[in-house]
């Protein structure tokens, strides 16, 4: 793309790089918004099927256009700002949530070489950007100047900070095994893992527990059920979103689901081979890698929906206990274990 602007259009290298990046951002962000709309529909359909209901089936064929109808509805609503709210931060909060949900996608590799920013600290970038996500929630809760959103904000802050620690250590064992922070490098490092012709760290018995741990932590990090204490409707009305309406609400909604898709993609990329086919067998590589990635993403999304439909909500102290007393020691021990095994495999005892 940079060459196209540089040679065909005849701009300088810097400006052609700039334009190419803008185009790249649009190529990722616009389909992502469409994907979010469809994934909300899929979520509702999965949930409905598990509860033996029909789910959305009125707008468009099979209710496919339901999300767009909802989007149009919130777009036409009035934006209500509570008089006691801190206006600037109240409006900033959904923008932060939405932006942060989008910027993480810059480093996600969709296929060999198809990534917007192939940086060598890709995984750290993801951790950095996802740690920003908590600000949208905290600010929304505080700026609303209302009790329930504030409780929700405090819960969200504690929850996300706690689970980020566990996620960080879980990812360290992946990084140790792959030897790189670059996401494309991590995907390529999963090819034919352990020499058993399967692609994915999850097939490695040593890393499989970390895959499970990451899946659960990613549920907590995106505040999906059973960890959706920030918007527990039986206790906190709608949590930090209580005072929001119209587009400011829709931005939370879009950001939340964009984050959910991202976590599904990360589960696929970090533990289940990303764009590689699950089995290391030549004919399977004929299928474009992006299709494998999407298939894995949808599978994980189904798992997320399944959990949402079947698992009851955790109590808050149980959530904290799970994060600090179970996941943190376990993942910390696993870092130790994985580095020990790698030392043994690559260096050997007593050297």
């Amino acid at each position: 793309m940079t060459e196209f602007f540089n040679t065909t259009v005849g701009l300088g290298y810097e400006w052609s790089w700039f334009l190419a990046t803008i185009v790249g951002i649009l190529v990722i962000a616009l389909p992502l918004m469409l994907a979010v709309a469809m994934i909300i529909y899929a979520d509702r359909k999965i949930w409905a099927a598990m509860a033996m209901r029909r789910g959305p089936n009125v707008v468009g064929p099979f209710g496919l256009l339901q999300s767009f109808a909802d989007g149009l509805k919130v777009f036409l609503q009035e934006t209500i700002i509570p008089t006691a709210a801190n206006k600037g931060l109240f409006l900033l909060a959904p923008i932060i949530t939405f932006t942060v949900a989008l910027i993480v996608w810059a480093v996600v590799p969709f296929q060999a070489g198809v990534v917007l920013a192939d940086i060598n600290v890709g995984l750290l970038y993801i951790l950095a950007a996802s740690s920003l996500g908590v600000y949208g929630v905290i600010l929304a809760g505080w700026a609303s100047n209302s009790k329930y959103p504030f409780y929700s904000a405090l819960r969200a802050a504690a929850q996300m900070v706690s689970y980020e620690v566990a996620i960080g250590f879980t990812l360290i064992s992946v990084v140790l095994w792959a030897g790189t922070f670059n996401l494309s490098g991590i995907v390529l490092g999963q090819q034919n893992v352990m020499g058993i012709h399967l692609n994915g760290f999850g097939f490695n018995p040593l890393l499989f527990p970390m895959a499970v741990l990451f899946l659960i932590s990613s549920l907590a990090e995106t505040q999906r059920p059973p960890f959706d204490l920030t918007e527990a409707e039986s206790e906190l009305v709608a949590g930090y979103q209580t005072e929001y309406s119209s587009m400011s609400f829709a931005l939370f909604w879009l950001g939340e689901y964009a984050n959910v898709i991202l976590m599904c993609v990360l589960n696929a990329t970090l533990f289940w081979g990303g764009w590689l086919p699950p089995v290391d067998w030549a004919p399977l590589y004929a299928v474009p890698g992006i299709l494998w990635l999407f298939a894995k993403m949808l599978l994980f999304f189904f798992v997320f929906g399944w959990i949402k439909a079947t698992v009851p909500r955790y109590r808050y102290d149980q959530l904290m206990r799970l994060g600090w007393k179970v996941f943190l020691p376990l993942s910390l021990f696993w870092v130790f274990l994985v580095s020990g095994v790698l030392m043994w495999m690559r260096v050997g005892f007593g050297s």
Binding site: L124, Y125, A129, S131, Y135, I138
Partner: protein, 203 residues
């Protein structure tokens, strides 16, 4: 060109948000400006090619430290009159700190104009082609291994110290024992009775 634009953008935002951190009246706004300053400082780090430090700055300071700041500040009951009287009380020490910082910045600027530090003469030169995360790892785990571990120990001691100092064992609290809760079965906890009419149940 784009680098220059990015540099001036980040630098200007760092300075402006730094100034606003001090001058804004609402402490929550102050913390938000501080976060913006951290974030743009990370941008400057990326521009000088220290992407690992930049990411660490965002993860540690923006992702953890500032969240705790915000946590504390949000829950404070802010009394503005009290804040103003405190300004006078801490003015001298603030002025002293400010002067020290200003002098340090000036010394650094003079030293810089005298001539840059020759990076090629470092004790442990690194391959410029190596990504700086790998270079840092190389140095920390070989040349500076003991220092690195000593730093780790200091942090561990600090952490345990903080826990020891703040942890209070209170007698008579009814804490939960998760194992016991999970092990509890319906037949241990419930009793199936058929009370006769007008008799009630003995509990």
């Amino acid at each position: 060109m784009i680098q220059a634009i990015a540099f001036y953008l980040f630098a200007a935002v760092v300075i402006v948000s730094g100034a606003l951190t001090i001058s804004s009246r609402n402490p929550v706004h102050s913390v938000m400006w501080l976060i913006l300053a951290f974030f743009n400082a990370a941008g400057l780090m990326v521009l000088v090619g220290a992407e690992f430090i930049a990411m660490l700055l965002v993860i540690v300071y923006v992702g953890a430290v500032a969240v705790l700041f915000l946590f504390v500040v949000m829950m404070m009951d802010i009394d503005f009159a009290q804040l103003r009287t405190d300004v006078a009380r801490y003015a001298t020490i603030g002025l002293a700190l400010g002067t020290a910082l200003a002098v340090e910045v000036m010394i650094a600027a003079f030293a810089w104009s005298e001539g840059r530090i020759d990076l090629a003469r470092r004790a442990a030169p690194i391959d410029p082609a190596m990504p700086n995360i790998a270079a840092l790892g190389q140095l920390l785990y070989t040349r500076y291994l003991f220092l690195f571990e000593a730093a780790g120990f200091v942090l561990l001691v600090a952490m345990i110290g903080a826990i020891v100092l703040t942890h209070r064992e209170r007698a008579g609290t009814r804490s939960q024992h998760v194992g016991r809760q999970v092990a509890r079965r319906p037949q241990d906890a419930t009793r199936n009775v058929k009370p006769t009419v007008g008799q009630g149940v003995e509990l």
